[in-house]
Amino acid sequence: MYDFAYHRPKSVADAVALLKGKEEARPMSGGMTLIPTLKQRLARPSDIVDLGAIKELAGIKVEGNNVVIGGMTKHGDVATSADVKANIPALASLAGHIGDPAVRNRGTMGGSVANNDPAADYPAAVVALNATITTNTGKHTADDFFKGLFETALSEGELITSISFPKVEKAAYIKFPNPASRYAMVGVFVAKTAGGVRVAVTGAGPCVFRVKAMEDALAKNFTSAAIKDIKVPADDLNSDIHGSAEYRAHLVGVMARRAVDAANK
């Protein structure tokens, strides 16, 4: 790990001031990606701005038809929240299967979403549930937020303060873990909300994506049979020693069907 200056501000305003004032400052939420990256000397920030002391960023509340989750809310808290379990059980279940207990007790929703790792679980939930991402400067829709590999709509000094998820009628997330890392090699979140049906896929491509053909079919008939013949093209999917693009494309179909079946249970 290279040397860096460490800051632990108590407010979003102080954090943003620090981030904007330093040359190579990086915000840190749970640090579950950043710290291993630092330890492997793959990043060399001048300053680390630890968001852990900003109390306003953590917490879960129900506002009307939405569950609003603070950016610094830990996966373990999402997994065990009565509000999440009651209104979006698929999201609680997803959170309960991220990493291991140590990761779930450190890692945060905002950190994961802002990092936009192609194999992260949360982006699938954010897109499938058509969540709204609120930052210190404004709001982003889910569809506009995830731009590409580790790339989001966040600009410099912009921090996720909360994410608002609509309550669901039916939803489920099924992932196929990478055998080694157990990150999602393919994860499919299927959701039926007041806004319609969405199918979002993580792990398979460079960035979370929707499968419109499945959404249209499920909107008419929300059963796994309705999507059994829908194939996802392998062209733009990831390929590595654990899974070819063709295999991932195939798994998208399998996981989507299993997610629909789980949502219907």
């Binding site: 790990m1 492997q40 000397r41 196929f176 990478n178 055998p179 080694a180 890392s181 990150y183 590595d240 020693i241 654990h242 899974g243 070819s244 295999y247 195939h250 798994l251 399998v254």
Partner: protein, 795 residues
Amino acid sequence: MTAETGIGARVKRKEDQRFLTGTGRYVDDLPLARATYAYFLRSPHAHAKIKSIDVSAAKSMPGVVEIFTGKDIADAKVGGLICGWVVKDKHGEPHKSPPHPVMALDTVRYVGDTVAMVVANSHDEAKDAAEAIHVDYDVKPANVDLARAFDKGVPEVHAAEAPGNLIYDWEIGVKADVEAAFAKAAHVTKMDIVNNRLIPNAMEPRAAAAEYDKGTGNYTLWSTSQNPHVLRLILSAFVLGIPEHKLRVIAPDVGGGFGSKIFCYNEETMVCWASSRVGRPIKWTAERAESFMTDAHGRDHVTHAELALDKDHKFLALKVETIANMGAYLSTFSTAVPTYLYATLLAGQYTTPLIYANVKAALTHTAPVDAYRGAGRPEATFVIETIVSKAAAELKVDTAELRRKNFIPTEAFPYQTPVALQYDSGNYPPIIDEAIKIADYKGFEGRRAEAKSRGKLRGIGFSSYIEACGLGPSRVIGQLGGGVGQWESAQIKFNPTGNVQVLTGAHSHGQSHETTFAQLVSDKLGIPIETVEVVHGDTATTPFGMGSYGSRSLAVGGSAIMKAADKIIAKGKKIAAHLMEASVADVVFENGNFKVAGTDKNVPLGAAVFAAYVPHNYPLEELEPGMDENAFYDPSNFVYPAGTQICEVEIDPDTGVVEVVNHTAVDDFGNIINPMVVEGQVHGGIVQGVGQALLENAVYDKETGQLLSGSYMDYTMPRADDVPSFKLGNKITPCPHNPLGVKGCGEAGAIAAPAAVMNAVHDALAPLGVTHVPMPATPLSVWQTIQGAQRKAAE
């Protein structure tokens, strides 16, 4: 001693108290005053010429003490690392022996090859400085593909010393006889397999620390070694030239080895060498990424095999052609693994009268490959046990029945195989019968049908392995080219107060010697186990010994302890006879007491020991004082554990995921000292075998030579949820030639499991027309195989 702690008792491990409370002392824990820290700069290229190395900027970095390169080592006339087993090829010529410099001089030959050593006041400063070293590489084409290693035009690893990448072309058996048997065979089963390359992944990474005492000229090297005496011998005699008596090697608590810590590595060599130049102690602990890159890897064979059977399904002959990967340099025992530890095992449990094996050892631009848990024997078992199952499937006969039909009959022992080994003992039919019973083989088709109703493909697989371990005698090993003896030493040293130190030349790095060996001594001498301390791992305190590998510690090291205990008893008898004023011939030793038969005269061992140290009433004119006995034991043969494993898997045809749902192992390890420890060894071995079969794979990129599976993000270590609870059983035929009647148990699980699992996978997929799945049977690999079979069926 008492039934609770004696031979056969499930004594809880003495060493666990410190391991589980974090009070073990590993190399990295050493507090060394004024210590410096080493960091090794590694080659990022699989093959390159080093045009220049500029360390000037790095040398002026904060905290840097010294930087060494290959040129410094060459200028100091440090020897290269050695290969300690000379294998003669089929023309009687010794294997090609390319140089293995401690640090690369002008060429790097794999990703991870060592280029420079930075010594600094802290690890971070050493690492910072290493980043400032500028190496100008001329990158050359590399080959990491074993199957292509001998092809024309393939980049050569050591063009001058090993042209065409060939280290040896070795054979065993008479090819013409085997061909003749094939010509009259009623059925021939053929198979092409890859035995996948594995990375050992000991929990504790390799580490070394060294201190040079300028006043005495003595070096002390702490190393994560499985065999500190042999490491010292190699460093003294071949590499550093430090006289053996001026070098002390200590292997303290070591967190696992699996073979990978047998070998003499360059980092510990450098740390030791540089400690006198720097004038301060030097410490080094591998980072996990370095372990992946530079620990000697295991397995890595490409094999074609053919089995000939007669019309009654008796095996007539076996023909095996194997290319074995050596990596870029020959590691310490690399040459022996695919020859004397592999091809000599190809008879398995069967009467196959004719066997021919041809093994070609190849160089590639990859990390060195050497012994890894089982070392050659898992590869042999995989060949035999998969081809036997394949033959059964082709002939549509019961896989257990085909095995039973070809087993060496119990009355045929000792049994001379056609591949050099003479099995001392064995009784195979009751083992497979017991395994079949425990696994409920009869009920399998019902379970298969039930699984099918859930959309799962269920399969069952057998693996009846033979192992040859506890290598010996030394004379035979020498004839085969082995460079060291294969005996073990022991010293039983009583203290005047009656407690005892047992010093062993074996080394425990997870094997529970401190418990098992204490049980032996406690049982034999009739003293409480709490009074027995097992000491190992320090060349200054323990007698010269060969260390631990090849499941030898109990069979060879334990036998040495028994010999030493016999000497203690013999001496004690003389002392007791004197004290009891009896004839030595009348003295018997029972439960820790010397007695005169037919009388109530009695001298406890403790009293004899006290008399030996305080010899006021003692036959000094006939007997030396003291109670301290040494023994060396050279085994008269290998020991031959055997067993049968039965694995059941369920495969999800939609995803290719294989789940091990049942796994049974019945073993003959001879007599068992501590069943709990033995079960632990079997469990761990099976997990590693399941790991090889389904999960683990060391993959180098064929274009760039980079190690793609270089971290736990990509190298799939088995986890607890990857395996079921194992069902174990035992059938015991005591070893006839060692005093304990014991065989070895450390590697058996890993030897047998891969074939059992893969045979189950093949059985599960047979209804789809699949006959072969490459190992490891990862979800991707299984899915692709199913796709291929479906395409073929559609054609």
